[in-house]
Symmetry: C2
Subunit: 139 residues, 2 copies
């Protein structure tokens, strides 16, 4: 997958699993739709599994299912599971002798927090069921 498209791929993968309700999807099947390697998909699904969004089964006939109804999984849940940082990054270096540089982090933290306070409710408002509804019955 492309760099930085983790969230997009997570939504794709979860939607795929949601549309196959009652079945188990293998990482190989999912990888087919995303056009990438099964291990990449398993790594992504491991994050979603640790977050309690999907459940996995080992062995033959193993694979992945949603851990709860698609209507109870929001895009915020997916975002938080696969994307640790915020939307913006702060520089890690600065010149501590400069008064502006010293205060910049605090100021930017405030700006970034205000932005995120607008974004997160929007992501919480949309569920996987909303996304799945826009797709044909099965994949």
């Amino acid at each position: 997958m492309a760099p930085n498209s983790r969230f997009a791929v997570a939504v794709h993968v979860l939607t795929l699993i949601a549309l196959h309700k009652g079945e188990r999807l293998s990482s190989r099947e999912v990888a087919g739709s995303v056009a990438t390697n099964p291990v990449v998909i398993r790594r992504l699904l491991a994050q979603l599994s640790r977050a309690g969004i999907v459940a996995s089964a080992h062995g033959a006939l193993g694979g992945f299912t949603l851990a709860r109804p698609a209507s109870e999984i929001t895009l915020f849940d997916a975002y938080r599971a696969v994307e640790e940082g915020g939307f913006f990054a702060l520089p890690e270096k600065k010149n501590d002798k400069c008064p502006v540089a010293r205060r910049m982090k605090t100021i930017l933290d405030g700006v970034f927090a205000r932005v995120e306070s607008k974004v997160l409710p929007e992501l919480k408002r949309t569920t996987l069921a909303d996304v799945a509804r826009r797709l044909p019955g099965r994949a």
Copy 2:
């Protein structure tokens, strides 16, 4: 500077220039505060210059100034100037034989557009003057 912190550095740099109203700041002086190389700063300021946010002067006593009052420069202006893509990226590959994959881009475009429609007004609301007001008189 750290990867992906271009917007944060842009705000830092612009604030620094704003606080030195009436003077010209050289890329070397700015680089000192950000703790990076002057060329990196010149590259960033070239983007802000093309966007009409700063003005530059060549030669000895050259350097950078704001192209208009700090109260008329928003963080959105800075964001748009230095960060071409949106907040999320779409994967560039997909399996076109999969109906879900085929429609995913359209769906995600919609989701991303709704998110950005919440973010951009927030960035437009904050001006450089707002940021500078939170800092001591001069650097």
